[in-house]
């Protein structure tokens, strides 16, 4: 197969940009910011080119670039995308420039380091979504921890150190067990075919034939790593800390893209590699997902800090995504993928908006606000729009994702019980409660806090950041086919792989 270098350019352009920025003098802040934005925009343009060249009728991996990377252990540099990864790559390249613009004035010290880490982070995220060799995937997956760790730790809030370390240790614990599982798989493949390999497309032919008991262990090792990242209840405790302490840009990236790496991993690796284990464990994981939906919503309801509220709403929304994935129907998985994008857009917007007022008042306590609708009309409108999108109002993006997931889980033969749908649907109602209640307390009512009278409305830069997000929120809400078409073939392929594991060797598994 012919190598296509486009994807490699896309992955490494931000890194190259970051390295170039390191050589700029510290005091040339404007130049550093512009360079950062420039490189993230170049990445965005390349991803658009990839989008237009992408053939959504083809279920195979496209834009493949493959060469032998490490001779001794047969590791390839192997990248390629299907519809699912394409959508998430677009999300990444779309969100990164927006976060850089949004932090134009909020990041004041160590601007160079900040821009550098953001660009390195982008390379890491793109690499995770494009890798088709498990070793390469793991490298990106882990290396990405370093920039995020610094972003939380240097530019974060009061408890940033605790949050940064907790984030790092949690993720590390999960992913190291996945590393053992990856090596085990590679060694297993070596015993069967005679060649140690971490090539995902090769492992797809071998892994499904692993004996069921072992498959369960492998599945759990992978799933633990992804579940911590998602985060699935009860592995979510790092998330509120990390979100609340991270600077706005960090929270947006964290919610917008990083969490999706967990759900992406479940969909990309767990389902097709371990189909037997998937079918056995799907109901249990779905139970955790539903608990997460309700628990996240209930905890969000009682938060007094806006950012914490949005953070817990993430636990709830990501619960929907996991439910969608493990219902294993075309509708639910497509809904899950679209919901990943939705959550990135609407939660990203919510974090940005919280950041907007926080920058002015330096408080996120809901009780400190009230009655600001007249003072900052643009902000009030944007917050309403983002909240409605997050709630899942028909006509906006959230509705499409949640509807498809609920529909799919209702039909699901794997879950085989409509209780999942009933409980998950209650999460939608709770979402309306906690978000609208927050909106009411922040925006409506009487203006009691005298400090708020001088609150300035969103400036043109902040509005400029919101507009593209809102466009996509409406677009997905009204005409989701644009996006569903991209993922349809890839989704069907995953479902086929789960339901028809290639039993190469029944004898070996017994």
């Amino acid at each position: 197969m012919e190598n296509n270098l486009l994807l490699t350019y896309l992955i490494f352009i931000p890194l190259v940009g970051g390295l170039i920025i390191l050589f700029v003098k510290n005091n040339k802040i404007a130049l550093i910011k512009n360079l950062g934005l420039f490189f993230s925009l170049v990445a965005f343009i390349i991803s658009l080119v990839i989008y237009f060249q992408f053939d959504s009728n083809n279920s195979d991996f496209q834009f493949i670039h493959k060469f032998k990377w490490i001779e001794g252990i047969n590791v390839f540099y192997f990248v390629g995308i299907d519809g699912i990864s394409l959508l998430l790559i677009l999300l990444t390249t779309f969100i990164t420039p927006l976060t850089l613009i949004s932090s134009w004035s909020s990041i004041e010290h160590k601007v160079k380091e900040f821009t550098f880490f953001m660009l390195v982070l982008e390379t890491g995220m793109l690499g995770v979504f494009a890798s088709l060799d498990l070793f390469l995937f793991y490298i990106f997956w882990e290396a990405m921890l370093i920039p995020m760790y610094f972003i939380i730790g240097i530019w974060g809030g009061k408890e940033r150190i605790y949050a940064a370390i907790k984030f790092f240790l949690y993720t590390m614990l999960g992913s190291l067990l996945m590393l053992v599982a990856i090596i085990w798989l590679a060694v297993y493949a070596g015993k069967i075919t005679g060649g140690f390999t971490t090539d995902f497309t090769e492992l797809l032919k071998i892994a499904p034939s692993i004996a069921r008991d072992l498959q369960l262990w492998m599945f759990l090792a992978f799933a633990l790593s992804f579940a911590i990242k998602v985060p699935l209840f009860p592995f979510h405790t790092w998330l509120p800390d990390a979100h609340v302490q991270a600077p706005t840009a960090g929270s947006v990236i964290l919610a917008g893209v990083l969490l999706k790496m967990g759900t992406y991993g479940l969909l990309r690796f767990n389902l097709p590699l371990f189909p037997d284990a998937t079918l056995i464990l799907a109901p249990y994981i779905s139970v955790l997902a539903v608990i997460g939906i309700i628990y996240g919503a209930l905890v969000a309801m009682v938060q007094t800090d806006m950012k914490k509220l949005v953070a817990y709403s993430s636990v709830s929304h990501l619960g929907f995504v996991v439910l969608g994935i493990f219902a294993i129907t075309t509708e639910s998985i497509q809904g899950a993928v679209i919901q990943m994008v939705n959550h990135g857009l609407s939660t990203g917007a919510l974090f940005l908006l919280v950041g907007v007022v926080y920058e002015r008042t330096h408080t996120r306590e809901i009780a400190e606000y009230g009655g600001i609708a007249k003072v900052v009309p643009f902000f009030a409108f944007s917050l309403l729009f983002a909240s409605l999108s997050s709630i899942g109002l028909p006509g906006l993006n959230g509705f499409i994702g949640e509807f498809l997931i609920l529909l799919g889980s209702f039909k699901s033969g794997v879950l085989n019980s409509w209780w999942f749908t009933v409980f998950a649907a209650s999460g939608v109602i709770f979402a309306a409660v906690y978000l609208l209640w927050m909106y009411q307390r922040v925006v409506f009512g009487e203006l009691k806090n005298p400090k708020l009278e001088k609150l300035t409305d969103m400036n043109s830069r902040e509005i400029f950041v919101m507009i593209p997000i809102f466009i996509f929120i409406v677009w997905i809400g009204i005409y989701p086919s644009t996006f569903l078409n991209i993922t349809e073939k890839a989704t069907k392929k995953v479902i086929y792989q789960v339901n028809n594991p290639i039993n190469v060797s029944n004898n070996q598994s017994k």
């Binding site: 032998k68 990377w69 490490i70 001779e71 001794g72 252990i73 070793f135 793991y138 490298i139 882990e142 290396a143 921890l145 370093i146 760790y149 610094f150 730790g153 240097i154 940033r160 150190i161 940064a164 370390i165 790092f168 240790l169 590390m172 614990l173 190291l176 067990l177 590393l179 053992v180 090596i183 085990w184 590679a186 060694v187 070596g190 140690f196």
Partner: protein, 475 residues
């Protein structure tokens, strides 16, 4: 002595270093400013011998009446020891000035200890191992206390000497039992008789005593008691040397003496022993390091825990394990030379600035040193894309191939614990504000040493393939 010119040529790295030592002694005798000239002479000498070792890597043979092996992985070890020596010399040039410890002997002892290490790696006979070991150890005892005005250095030296001599006793007793049962000291002959001798209790006791003796030298739990005190009390550059060169040499000795075992699969007899001390070392080192506030003590416990990871490679008992150990030893040498190097640069007179809290907010004043130290900490913690990660990956892979998956799982769990204390340094460097001004004297020679180590860590992390295939081709 040499049968022909080719043997002489094969043995040239050792001969060259020995000649260098004689020249150094002469310089020391007749030159008044010997310290300066000797330091640069040693750098050049180590560099030349190191390059020569790599250049003659294909000279695989056994020479000197089956006493010494040349070529192959032996030469990789040669290069590693000389590289370590070179970096330590570069770091020492300005470090010694801080303590007014300008002794020419310092560099001569570095050279003799490297010679000892080379003999250990090249040995084909138990006597040669013992010879190399003593040459190295005696030089080490003196080096630990080279700064004779400091009480802590003398304490370190004495402690090291007493426990080191104790360990040597184990090794000699082990050798005696092996000789008594196998009736030879030639490693090849012992290897060929190993299976039939493995029922002989005396022989197995001998092998175990031999291993226990070396467990002291590699700083494995429960034979680690000397490590924290010695690393803390010795000059920082010498601690760097102990933790890298000393450990590598001891591992080299274990590998050469038991190599036949590891490749023939007969190592199952010693696997339980290796596995147990490996797991204990990893967890003991990682857990105790968390409570350390002296950075040299912290690195000492990290060194104990790293001995554990390396032992996994030996316990795996296959050629991947050996290759993994050699790779990880290289990565570990680079990482520890860098880490102790930065410690030695930041350290000021009277053993100041050795507390980890002295590093608070260092990134504001010393962005470059902080960035390098963070890189080293991430690599030590085993985070990709640095060399430390790949070394661990390869060792775990070897363990899983030998169906020792549990060792790999315990290994990664201990890694997670160790992340905590490695990252604490990064936390202090970047996330905390400095309490007081730290006067750091960055020197060119020291910085060159740091650049070389850090650059190699990144290169070996991203492109390990080339080095790995060199190692594999020599096994």
């Amino acid at each position: 002595m040499f049968n022909n010119l080719q043997e002489f040529y094969f043995f040239l790295p050792v001969i060259l270093l020995s000649a260098g030592i004689l020249i150094s002694v002469t310089i020391e005798l007749y030159s008044k400013k010997s310290v300066i000239s000797l330091s640069w002479f040693s750098v050049v000498l180590f560099f030349i011998v190191g390059i020569l070792s790599l250049a003659t890597i294909d000279s695989k043979s056994v020479i000197l009446q089956n006493m010494v092996a040349t070529g192959g992985y032996v030469n990789i070890f040669y290069a590693l020891f000389n590289f370590t020596g070179m970096i330590v010399c570069l770091l020492s040039v300005d470090y010694l000035k801080k303590y007014d410890a300008l002794f020419g002997e310092y560099y001569i002892l570095l050279q003799t200890s490297v010679l000892g290490m080379m003999l250990m790696a090249a040995a084909k006979d138990l006597f040669v191992i013992f010879l190399g070991l003593e040459l190295m150890s005696v030089s080490f005892y003196v080096l630990a206390g080279i700064n004779r005005k400091r009480g802590s250095a003398i304490e370190a030296s004495l402690k090291y000497f007493l426990l080191g001599a104790f360990a040597t006793g184990f090794i000699v007793y082990g050798i005696a039992l092996i000789y008594g049962t196998a009736e030879t000291t030639s490693l090849d002959v012992i290897a060929s008789k190993f299976i039939q001798l493995s029922n002989n209790l005396l022989f197995i006791t001998g092998v175990l005593l031999f291993l226990i003796g070396f467990s002291f030298k590699i700083a494995a739990f429960p034979f680690h008691m000397w490590v924290p005190d010695v690393y803390q009390g010795s000059p920082s550059t010498i601690s760097a040397f102990f933790s890298t060169g000393g450990k590598t040499a001891a591992f080299a000795a274990i590998i050469v003496s038991l190599f036949a075992l590891f490749t023939s699969g007969a190592s199952k007899i010693i696997t339980p022993y290796l596995s147990v001390i490996s797991v204990l070392s990893m967890f003991f080192g990682s857990i105790v390091a968390i409570s350390q506030t002296n950075i040299k003590r912290m690195l000492a416990y990290s060194s104990i825990s790293n001995a554990g990871y390396l032992l996994i490679g030996l316990a795996a008992g296959n050629s991947e394990g050996i290759a993994g150990v050699i790779f990880y030893l290289t990565a570990y040498t680079l990482m520890n030379l860098g880490a102790f190097g930065i410690v030695s640069i930041i350290e000021s007179k009277e053993e100041k600035n050795l507390d980890i809290y002295d590093y608070s907010g260092l990134s504001n004043k010393q962005p470059l040193l902080s960035a390098l130290l963070s890189l080293l900490m991430f690599s030590l913690a085993g985070i990709p894309p640095f060399a430390g990660f790949f070394g661990k990956y390869y060792i775990f892979m070897a363990a899983i191939k030998s169906d020792l998956t549990i060792l790999a799982i315990l290994g990664v769990l201990s890694s997670v614990i160790s992340v905590y204390f490695y990252l604490r340094i990064v936390v202090l460097l970047y996330f905390k504000e400095s309490q007081y001004d730290l006067n750091v004297l960055k020197t060119n020679s020291g910085m060159i040493a740091l650049y070389i180590s850090s650059l190699l860590i990144v290169i070996l992390g991203i492109f390990p393939g080339k080095f790995l295939s060199i190692i594999n081709s020599t096994l």
